[in-house]
Symmetry: C2
């Protein structure tokens, strides 16, 4: 059984028991046999974390490999003016905060839950032992980080060459791809897995809040998407993925 | 001995023999014993490539792990207008074109030599066999790709929040860090290892050719850098790294 952390020893918020099979959908552990998954789960620390809880801070020493079993995490960096700028959203099954174990051992960004979440993590020593016994984990790690590198390179090129509408459409489609399991209640679209603000979307697409808001409002009017509150959080639902894809592909290289 | 390729069987441009020790300085093979380096070298294909030779094209199937023993390679992507935009320069000892082996198996960019170069490469099958026998290679690979991810994330944040002068200074300092061995002939600076155009620098720092040229001319006037021809190629030499660093750090987060 994985160990569960608790910040209130007298009345610990018990993490539900997670079967090793919960790891099978994670790209990091793709191709591992059931026995290996059990070993990985047994070596993990699992904790439930309420939303709006900081998990680590930019510049702190980075001793863990982190992933999410459920919920969502916002990865952001502070800019020159000290404000937080959204860099990426992490959904269930995704890894985060792990690259520094292999580089300078300092978190390059802040991580904070945007929903009630279950975090799973391994110490660096444990991760290295698991990799030695199951080298497929290292190759999966290369795949995860490599795909993010390509994605950020695409975003960098878009910022310097693309139009704002393209960038915003691409940011929405990337978030939708992370949210495939979240069908809208009435089956008419994909609800983004993360409670995003318009400011988040402006930052993810490299534009101003004003431009992002104006563009989103125009698209809402056309019926391409809708935004609403669900469980008290702002949620965006994409209704016309084809139209957004056409916008994203316009002038695609 | 590594195998050497030749495009002219009758009079092959023989690649010089490279000792396994030539791999010791490469981050990808850090921590490997001499015997392991010999094994890695024996499994490699080495070829000499004149400058301005395309090595692969964006969208082509990606069957190799590539690195440079000497010379330089420009990695670029085509933008919406069909023009090439510089994304990264690869110097001696650096890996390139290898991420797609672990993702979608298609080169995400073009690669072309910018100087007479010696390329070393391994097939995917060979690389996977080497990783199985020497798992340290996989962890080194995570480090190389992870560092590039962090660097591109920094560039993305700079483009959306930083000033042009900052971005240009940071681009020059990154290129200088890749060129540590290239002291200026008179010892008064660091000559960038790559023959760069002003357009390259504009693209690497996400600005226009006009702004990049104007800024570089101003800095040349202040004595921070100089540009000149060496061996018939345009070379930039940084003379005042402290001033450029101050410019890069201004408002640093």
């Amino acid at each position: 059984m994985p160990q569960t952390d608790s910040s209130a020893p007298s009345s610990p918020p018990l993490a539900p028991a997670w079967p090793p099979q919960a790891l099978a959908g994670m790209e990091l552990f793709r191709g591992l046999e059931a026995a290996a998954l059990a070993e990985v789960m047994a070596a993990a620390h699992i904790r439930t974390v309420p939303r709006h809880t900081p998990l680590f801070h930019q510049g702190d020493p980075a001793p863990h490999c982190h992933a999410l079993l459920s919920g969502g995490v916002r990865i952001s960096q502070s800019n020159a003016a000290g404000a937080q700028v959204a860099l990426r959203f992490i959904g269930a099954g995704e890894m985060f905060g792990t690259v520094p174990l292999f580089t300078d051992r300092l978190y390059p960004a802040d991580a904070e839950t945007v929903a009630d979440s279950v975090e799973i993590r391994w110490t660096e020593t444990t991760l290295r032992q698991l990799i030695t016994r199951h080298p497929a984990i290292a190759l999966n790690l290369v795949g995860v980080i490599g795909r993010r590198l390509m994605e950020v390179q695409d975003r960098l090129r878009e910022v310097t060459t693309g139009r704002v509408e393209q960038r915003l459409a691409r940011a929405l489609l990337r978030l939708a791809a992370q949210s495939k399991r979240d069908q809208a209640p009435d089956g008419t679209g994909t609800t983004l897995a993360f409670p995003l603000t318009r400011k988040d979307l402006a930052e993810l697409s490299g534009t101003t809040l004003h431009t992002a808001s104006r563009t989103l409002a125009a698209w809402e009017k056309r019926g391409w998407l809708s935004s609403g509150r669900r469980n008290g959080r702002v949620r965006i639902t994409l209704h016309d993925v084809a139209a957004l894809t056409a916008m994203a592909e316009e002038g695609r290289d």
